[in-house]
Subunit: 369 residues, 2 copies
């Protein structure tokens, strides 16, 4: 039942293990940390639901410390990082210790950044417990925290030594979080895998019913796509930027509404639809393809339009996004389902028109009040 | 008058420029940043003394932002880092900007860490203005901040694109800071350059008088030694650890006394003398060589003994040093002047005896009250 996908990155290629029961006492996590000093970074939600099983899987470690943080994107900041470092010193974590990120994307980003910077770098294992983290954020080594004025402004590249995606942990995931994770799954179809997008159109009901075979397929196919892109371009000097489809729009939504009002997956779903409509507007994407994109997100359902931010404010926030700050706007647009491109050739007027079309707020199809 | 030493590290080998007048409007700094967006990180002391010249050297940059921090090791922490990040966002610093560290070791460590983590890494130029920073901390890519309970616990490796050591900036350095810098200079002699140590014994008066030729020689010789070690072992998996001679003792002194009571150079001077005496105590270093070491530090003068911490507390702090935390004590000891070794073979009883011999405080030869 377990699938392993290798991320081919020197100097330490690493496996992504996907399947049920991986947190067993004889599973891959137990093997890796046998005899070692371990610091687990988690949040109160995940620790309450799955902490017991994790502790059992770590029974053979030499020492296990725990750092349990509050749950939510609004805690992903430098102040919370200080709590991880306090725990690291409390538990005598030296250069040869392991950090274990046990939670969703926020925990993975912060624990990863802590591992990148504690003693100038210690080993990290990602144990993602949400769909979004299993299909996207736990793989590829991007770590970091938010600045009050921008998403993921502060961080580091720090690859894990292993990703252990135990699909049993998804059983406790609420529907909103599950749907948010699907946004990143659909993203892989949109940017580089038209067959997978078509499969999602055909099998969405099975996915939404969380049928084990369907779940396994979307996680594996997402990780395969992510691993291939990351192996080709670890530091995002080229093709890796495609993974940001919808993210410049989405980060603007997250920053404007305050972290945690819109989930990351919800914000980028709206962002990907905006990118699709803009691509259609400038004639790069056929209208029928654009409709397929919006239709799939609507079926999940995920938002296809931004909240009432206003086109001008949205434009400002996009301009100060990490990928654009102080320079020209670079966007990821679509030439077809499965064919994304990086471009700075989109006319500014067309972008403004798309942003204006998203107003007024009464057109929003998703309400987070 | 300018010397350039290359640090041979892939993927970006970089030059260390050493000489007077390097902050000229047609100097290497002016060349590097022409047309670019620049954030200068400095402290109030250096900004007041040399800020005008730096601004002139940056006149051809596209945009120059400044972040002026309070002066002192006690500010080298995560809270101060947040101020650098605020400035980076205020000045629209994107991935293609340059950070310039303009100050001593504390500024270099913090600006370097900010450059390592802002947007997951931007380019950095080190412009060191103290002897200690010019001979040691600006070269080699170690960056970071202190934890309240330990030196340099949080950080990253981030190599600069250039080090520009304008020796004119040393003219305003007070004597205590200058002597502290000499501790790191003497260190290179002790660990791997017996000829240089002998030269320092012979020419110390010229050095203390800051004769230009003597100053140029000690900076060049120190940078040559540092560049060679760093090129061999960037991430300190081996020989680079020799550069930590006296540092486990020294960090314990700094942490115990509160940052800024003892300067870093003063603490490691006492630490190197402790390492020498311990080496003599276990028969690895001839007593005559040990006397040469202590004698040179005394002539500067720099402390040769720790303050009144107490052997037990000192041992505890050494045990929680970054290089030792949670594991066995690894020390850098001397087999001769110019011949340092990394060892975990020093009997614990002998270390304790050396720490006890440093008590009572009345034996201290240097008073910082």
């Amino acid at each position: 039942m377990t699938t392993t996908i290798q991320v081919e990155l020197p100097p330490h290629p690493y496996p992504i293990h996907i399947g049920p029961g991986l947190l067993a006492t004889d599973g891959p996590l137990a093997e890796l940390v046998a005899g070692a000093r371990v610091l687990v970074i988690s949040n109160d939600t995940v620790a309450a639901l799955h902490g017991e099983r994790l502790r059992a899987a770590l029974a053979r470690a030499g020492h296990v410390g725990e750092c349990v943080l509050p749950d939510g994107e609004r805690w992903k900041n430098l102040e919370t990082m200080a709590r991880i470092f306090d725990a690291a010193i409390d538990h005598g974590c030296a250069r040869d210790c392991w950090f274990v990120a046990f939670g969703g994307g926020v925990i993975g980003d912060m624990a990863g950044f802590a591992a990148a910077t504690w003693q100038r770098g210690v080993r990290l294992i990602q144990v993602p417990t949400t769909l979004l983290a299993q299909v996207d954020s736990s793989v590829g080594g991007k770590t970091g925290v938010n600045h009050p004025r921008g998403k993921n402004m502060i961080g580091a590249f720090h690859q894990p030594r292993a990703v252990i995606a135990d699909t049993d942990t998804l059983s406790t995931l609420d529907d909103r979080q599950f749907r948010a994770g699907l946004a990143e799954v659909i993203k892989y179809g949109l940017i580089r895998d038209a067959d997978f997008f078509a499969w999602l159109e055909a099998e969405l009901d099975a996915v939404l019913a969380r049928e084990p075979a369907a779940l396994a397929h979307i996680i594996e196919q997402s990780c395969r796509n992510k691993a291939a892109v990351v192996a080709e371009d670890e530091r995002e000097t080229g093709v890796r930027a495609l993974l940001n489809l919808g993210h410049t729009f989405g980060h603007a939504i997250e920053t404007a509404t305050g972290y945690d009002t819109w989930l990351h997956g919800e914000a980028i779903a709206a962002g990907m639809c905006m990118a699709a409509r803009l691509s259609a507007r400038i004639g790069w994407l056929a209208q029928g393809e654009c409709d397929r994109v919006e239709s799939l997100f609507q079926r999940v359902p995920l938002p296809t339009r931004p909240p009432a931010i206003g086109g001008t404010r949205m434009r400002e926030l996009m301009q100060s996004d990490k990928k654009t700050l102080g320079g020209r706007m670079r966007l990821i647009l679509l030439e077809g389902v499965g064919r994304a491109v990086i471009t700075d050739a989109c006319p500014a007027g067309e972008l403004d028109a798309e942003l204006a079309a998203a107003d007024p707020p009464s057109r929003a199809t998703h309400d987070h009040a």
